[in-house]
């Protein structure tokens, strides 16, 4: 005997396959497999090696070498500048493209290594369908690899159409053919597309539909060419999806693909978390998509001092200064010192002609309201309303302006639904006032509705009455705000971002205007902010909803 594996099998070195098998069988019968797992493993190993050696020695005279095979194996990290042996031989010989060896990437059991030379049978007669498929293959090949050279250029429209036609002919053929041909077509197309990437990009998806390439994605035995193509396929799919506005990472994608450095405002608008998610996703799954991103921007996003940490940006707010003065019922405010007079005035006011009162009340709250209705809804406010009507009779301060101001004050006590209504009222007033003049608008902002009465369209007017009546019925109009003057709120980054998207303002102007109530652009900005807030009022804090 002559060493391993022959000793293990108990025979002399031989190239006789059946002698090896017989020796293996005899030894196997002497084993209790479940009790001697190791013995079984080494026996099999010896048998496999012996068979392989036998094969080698019987081929020693031939020109068979394993080297060619290794060349054709694409490693997972291969850059696909791999040989074009298969493709080119397709040009030369008639049937080689069906000869692509079915070649598992792993070595299993005992492996009869693929032997292209020996295995190739006498060239079989090709059927008509096979000839047609072969023509389609060659045509597709020369589109993807023009003049035998891989090209980075995209295919032209004509090439695209022609390529699709050839590809569907091949797919059709595969669905009608036996497993050998099907498998050969499947593997050769994968190989061709991988090698001709990115020129092959438009053809990968239809081929995937036919051969279920993506089903193999992520499996341990994914063929190397498919590992490459599937990654591209998933990348292309992701690229398409992320460009849709409703994709959760769409904003991060748009942000990262814009040129230039990231600014503070960008950080406010885009959630750091989403940017991080996108980075991780692209780097782990679709590395080729990184070329779509702007290098500088990517770099500046990635440069975040450790102390800040990644989550901080989404919690950043910009300060927003608001100044408002509230009017109090003249009876209480102007003449608070003299309670007697208050009483007297109240009595007087009761004396006002009911008819006149009803007209004024209807002008404010709409046709369904008279003093009795107001009293029923909110008795305290009814008294205040009386007093305001009296004041109106004696000064330039209108009852309407009083109610409007009261509505602003009510914000401090409003729950969500009413706070939203007040914000809507405010936007209505500001919009109407801005149509008149910037000054008018600025007056409204600080709560002065008397200096320049707001002119409203019929629709605006109707809506105002409706909203005011709602506040009345909620019992909010009798409330008196405890605070007035200047206050500052925090506006969340995303709202700032929205304003930038919707207006022409630059970051600097916007930031300045938010902090300076006197700013020229303040009115427009406040209207825009209110608009944004009213679109998704649930997204802001109740404080902001009340304050803005």
């Amino acid at each position: 005997m002559s060493g391993y594996p022959w000793d293990e099998l108990g025979i002399a070195q031989t190239s006789d396959v059946s002698a090896i098998r017989r020796a293996y069988a005899d030894r196997l019968r002497g084993l209790d497999l479940d009790k001697d797992i190791q013995g079984y493993a080494s026996l099999r190993h010896a048998r496999d090696e012996a068979l392989w050696l036998a094969k080698q020695s019987s081929q020693e005279d031939g020109n068979f070498g394993l080297g060619d095979l290794n060349d054709e194996q694409l490693g997972p990290d291969s850059d696909f500048s791999v040989t074009f042996n298969q493709g080119q031989s397709a040009d030369e010989s008639s049937a080689d493209w069906v000869d692509v060896a079915i070649d598992g990437a792993r070595s299993g059991a005992y492996e009869e290594r693929p032997q292209p030379h020996e295995a190739a049978p006498a060239e079989p007669e090709l059927t008509e369908a096979q000839l047609a498929a072969q023509e389609a293959w060659q045509a597709l090949f020369s589109i993807l690899i023009p003049n035998g050279q891989p090209s980075d250029e995209a295919v032209t429209h004509d090439e695209l159409d022609a390529g699709h036609e050839h590809l569907s002919a091949l797919i059709q053929r595969a669905s009608e053919s036996d497993l050998v041909e099907h498998d050969a077509l499947d593997s050769s197309l994968a190989q061709l597309f991988a090698e001709a990437w990115p020129r092959s990009a438009p053809f990968v998806e239809p081929a995937n539909q036919a051969f279920h390439w993506l089903d193999e994605a992520g499996s341990l035995e994914e063929r190397p060419a498919l590992m490459f193509l599937n990654a591209r396929l998933q990348g292309m799919r992701f690229h398409e999806e992320v460009q849709q506005e409703d994709h959760p990472l769409h904003k991060a994608w748009v942000e990262l693909s814009r040129p230039g450095k990231v600014t503070l405002i960008d950080r406010l608008k885009i959630k750091r978390e989403e940017v991080d998610q996108l980075f991780t996703l692209i780097r782990s799954s679709y590395p080729e998509l990184e070329s779509y991103l702007d290098e500088e921007r990517v770099h500046s996003w990635q440069y975040v001092p450790d102390s800040i940490g990644p989550r901080i940006v989404q919690y950043l707010f910009i300060g927003f200064l608001i100044v408002q003065f509230f009017r109090f019922c003249s009876a209480q405010m102007d003449d608070r010192a003299n309670l007697d007079e208050l009483f007297e005035q109240t009595v007087q006011s009761e004396a006002l002609a009911d008819e006149q009162v009803t007209i004024k009340v209807q002008a404010i709250f709409g046709g369904d309201y008279d003093m009795a209705a107001i009293r029923a809804a909110d008795p305290v406010f009814a008294d205040q309303m009386r007093a305001a009507l009296n004041t109106e009779a004696r000064s330039s301060r209108t009852a309407k302006g009083y109610v409007q101001n009261k509505a602003l004050q009510a914000a401090e006590f409003a729950e969500f639904d009413e706070a939203v209504k007040i914000a809507e009222l405010k936007r209505l007033w500001l919009t109407a006032a801005l149509d008149q003049s910037t000054d008018a608008c600025r007056n409204v902002m600080v709560g002065d509705f008397d200096s320049t009465p707001i002119a409203m369209s019929a629709a605006q007017y109707a809506r105002e009455s409706e909203l005011l009546a709602d506040l009345l019925n909620a019992g909010l109009l009798s409330k008196m705000a405890e605070f007035q003057g200047a206050r500052s709120f925090s506006v969340p980054g995303w709202m700032v971002g929205e304003v930038l998207d919707r207006t022409e303002y630059s970051e600097q102007v916007l930031t300045a205007a938010l902090q300076n109530p006197e700013s020229e652009d303040r009115c427009q900005i406040e209207i825009t902010l209110l608009g944004i807030m009213l679109e998704q009022p649930g997204r802001v804090s109740i404080d902001l909803l009340r304050g803005l």
Partner: protein, 568 residues
């Protein structure tokens, strides 16, 4: 005596090794195949096999079939108020098969070889073994169905064979195995499959195809869902079988004396079944790739499983392999016969001295691992294979892993089976935890050894050399801890159920069949069957065996004739 049992989705069979060959044991009705169906009533009376199938139309909510598809899952069914798992149901079928053997051999078998689809996973295999135990059997070995079929195919002339392919499409599962025979060794080179694809799926396709063609469903829509489903499935199966020998067949359902019928043509069915046929290709390709054998060098294509009789499947096969399959083995008998051969091997049966079988593990087995990338990010859920699929079994392999964190105190291994890199796409079999001494990350080696036995069952040992501690995981820990007690409980539950006396089995089956026929016909025929039923019941009451046998023979002949020449 060890019996070989084919526990199928649609049909089951039992065989024994006698006088140097495997022999099928017929059931009480004299048939080799016992439908895998069970029916119960409120009194705890059970029907197994053909009688249960016949009760499917009349008592759909108390009858169940195809429960093999639920093996290894938590699912259970309630039949006439009794809750049963697929293991219980399988145990009832097994028990009925052992009864048949006891009747034939005069001795009750206590040991068995049971077949499972090659592509059954660990959970499904364990569930099958438990079913055997509930039925009171010591399950000596689980053997893969295509391997059993290969044994039956290979042993009929015992010559050497170049690699051949076993294509096993049963009622609910699909397996492909590549097998070679030399010097009395039957060597499985590779197996692949789809444990969720079978003849039942083709029936579903048939139902979907036929339903819209039945026109106004009227009364059919008023029938309870389970009954309607049962009726449709029975009709689909009938049509599918009829299409095996004709270009078109009738699909008809009778409800409350109304007949809903349509014609189904072969090409219509083929078109509807195309997606299923496509799914047949992938496992074939994978098995060939794994075994490094190309289609041309296959010496034979062996068909097993009732669903391979369908012309649509045959056609796909012929196209795939470019030749006609071998049909020397009986597609319904080969698996049970092969199981009996394996049983003979285990008991040292005569004439089997030279024969040995070696099989492979059809799934990759491994553990969940985690790692850090160069940015320090933590990636978990990565599958690290320890035993790759299609490795010959038994096999025992060890891999070494390390700790991930400094001063880590415990290492936890999730044990998985499957082919995906991401463990969440594989089947989790269990988990094992072990304490490790606190040290720098990566400095505590942990050895994991997987041992896979010839029944395809796994054992995992985890060893920490630093402490000398070894943990042995019995897979699916929880289930196995419970299982002793559970098996006892299930067994006593099943024992409370009443089985028809064996002498009565044929009468019970005849009655169930007549009652089903009564539902299935209308008008004159229905009245006729009604009269036959009354007569037969009268004969039964007389309790004279001779009268009963005559009445039953008459009834069955009459039914045979009626069903062979339906009036429509």
């Amino acid at each position: 005596m060890i019996v070989g049992i084919d526990l199928g989705t649609t049909n089951s069979a039992v065989a024994i090794w006698r006088d140097g060959e495997p022999k099928l044991v017929p059931n009480a009705l004299g048939k080799e195949l016992t439908p895998s169906a069970v029916s119960l009533d409120k009194k705890g009376q059970t029907w197994v096999g053909q009688a249960a199938i016949d009760r499917m139309a009349t008592h759909p909510s108390d009858t169940v079939s195809s429960f093999k598809r639920m093996m290894g899952t938590e699912a259970n069914v309630v039949l006439a108020g009794t809750k049963l798992t697929s293991e219980d149901l399988s145990a009832m079928v097994l028990r009925s098969l052992i009864d048949d053997v006891e009747e034939a051999m005069g001795e009750r078998p206590v040991e068995a070889v049971i077949t499972v689809p090659a592509y059954f996973n660990e959970r499904q295999r364990r569930a099958t073994r438990r079913a055997g135990e509930i039925a009171g059997l010591d399950v000596k070995r689980l053997i893969n169905e295509p391997t059993a079929a290969a044994l039956a195919f290979g042993l009929h002339d015992r010559g050497d064979r170049e690699p051949f392919l076993v294509f096993d499409l049963g009622g609910g599962t699909f397996d492909v195995s590549i097998v070679e025979m030399f010097e009395g060794i039957v060597e499985v080179r590779a197996s692949a499959g789809d444990n969720r694809l079978g003849g039942d799926d083709f029936d579903d396709v048939m139902v979907k195809l036929a339903e819209p063609l039945l026109g106004d469903l009227g009364a059919l829509n008023k029938v309870p869902t389970d009954r309607r489903k049962a009726l449709m499935q029975l009709a689909a199966e009938k049509t599918r079988i009829a299409l095996s020998s004709a270009q078109a067949a009738d699909f008809s359902v009778t409800v409350e004396e109304r007949v809903y019928a349509t014609d189904i043509a072969t090409d219509q069915f083929e078109e509807a079944a195309a997606p299923l046929v496509k799914r047949l290709r992938d496992p074939v390709i994978r098995a060939l790739r794994d075994s490094h054998i190309d289609v041309q060098s296959l010496s034979d294509i062996v068909l097993v499983g009732g669903a391979t009789r369908m012309p649509v499947v045959r056609k796909a096969l012929t196209r795939m392999f470019g030749r006609f399959p071998n049909s020397t083995v009986h597609p319904d008998h080969a698996v049970a016969l092969g199981a009996a051969i394996q049983a003979g091997l285990l008991s040292g049966g005569e004439g089997l001295d030279e024969i040995r079988i070696t099989d492979v593990a059809p799934f990759t087995l491994g553990v969940e691992t985690a790692t850090r990338d160069q940015h320090g990010r933590y990636h978990s859920g990565i599958f690290a294979p320890i035993i790759e699929r299609n490795t010959p079994v038994p096999v025992s392999r060890m891999e070494e892993f390390g700790t991930l964190e400094d001063n880590q105190r415990e290492v936890r291994f999730g044990i998985y089976q499957g082919e995906a890199r991401d463990v969440s796409n594989n089947v989790k079999l269990g988990e094992v935890k072990i304490q490790v001494p606190p040290k720098e990350a990566g400095h505590v080696p942990v050895e994991v050894r997987f041992t896979y036995d010839t029944s395809g069952l796994l054992e995992v040992d985890v060893h920490v050399p630093d402490t000398g501690v070894t943990r042995n995981l019995v897979i699916v820990d929880e289930e196995d801890k419970r299982s002793r007690k559970d098996i006892e409980k299930s067994r006593s539950k099943l024992e409370k159920l009443k089985v028809h006396p064996r002498d009565d089995a044929e009468n019970v089956a005849a009655l169930a069949r007549a009652e089903r026929a009564y539902e299935g016909f209308t008008g004159m025929q229905r009245d006729m069957i009604g009269r036959w039923l009354t007569e037969f019941k009268g004969a039964l009451e007389k309790q004279d065996p001779r009268i009963i046998v005559d009445a039953r023979t008459d009834l069955i002949e009459a039914l045979d004739e009626l069903e062979a020449n339906p009036p429509i």
